[in-house]
Amino acid sequence: MRRDVRELLALLAAGLVLGLVHLALRPDMPWVPEPRVEETMCGEVEPAPAVEVPAASFAPVEPMSSPGPEDVR
């Protein structure tokens, strides 16, 4: 049983080391990959929004220039 565990650990260590060396030899595969780009259902990359939404502000909202029909009574 002890021999089984020893051999298993040796193979695990060999596989892990070789795998990490393989990863180190691949310049196209970084150790930590960049965050994935979300894709649509059709497999296309979702385009970034064209117009940026202005940040929320606590400034008082200006009143409408003309009164609505419910205000003219």
Binding site: L8, L11, G15, L16, G19, L20, H22, L23, R26
Partner: protein, 154 residues
């Protein structure tokens, strides 16, 4: 009388060893067939791993290179007989892990290509047949592990 039983016992042992060798070759062949395409193109395998929704992002590339290397190491151990006992247990572990991964994807209803054989086979959504195949392979490795308790097959 004892000579007859000895002859029968020797014949049974001969057949058992033959069967074990067939199992070794089948399991090692499957592991090699799974490992080689993934080692040749680990980036393609890495692209499939996030679909399991189990691996944290920083582990994806590490798993994509180490898992096929473990498959290769296990296959070589089974074929060569060197570190054979460890190779059998590693095969059991790998098959159990792959079976659990596929079962988990099926249970969660995730429609993914398992990437089991890299790009060597056409991408198809994982299904019950893949789970059955993995359970059978797991069974074969378990038979090899049970045989370890008898006598070392060289």
């Amino acid at each position: 009388m004892s000579q007859v039983s000895e002859t029968m016992s020797a014949r049974a042992s001969h057949w058992r060893r033959g069967g074990v060798w067939v199992l070794r070759i089948v399991v090692a062949g499957v592991l090699l067939a799974a490992a080689v395409p993934k080692l040749a193109d680990p980036a393609a395998f890495a692209a499939k791993l996030p679909n399991y929704r189990l691996f944290p992002e920083f582990l994806v590339n590490i798993v994509a290179t180490t898992a096929p290397m473990l498959e290769l190491v296990a296959a070589l151990a089974l074929l060569s007989g060197r570190l054979y006992r460890g190779g059998v247990w590693l095969s059991v572990g790998l098959m159990a892990m792959f079976t659990a991964l596929i079962g988990s994807a099926l249970a969660r209803g995730i429609d993914l290509d398992c990437g089991c054989f890299g790009n060597a086979v056409q991408a198809e959504p994982v299904g019950a047949l893949d789970l059955v195949r993995n359970v059978v392979l797991l069974g074969l490795t378990v038979v090899l592990a049970i045989d370890l308790g008898r006598e070392p097959a060289q």
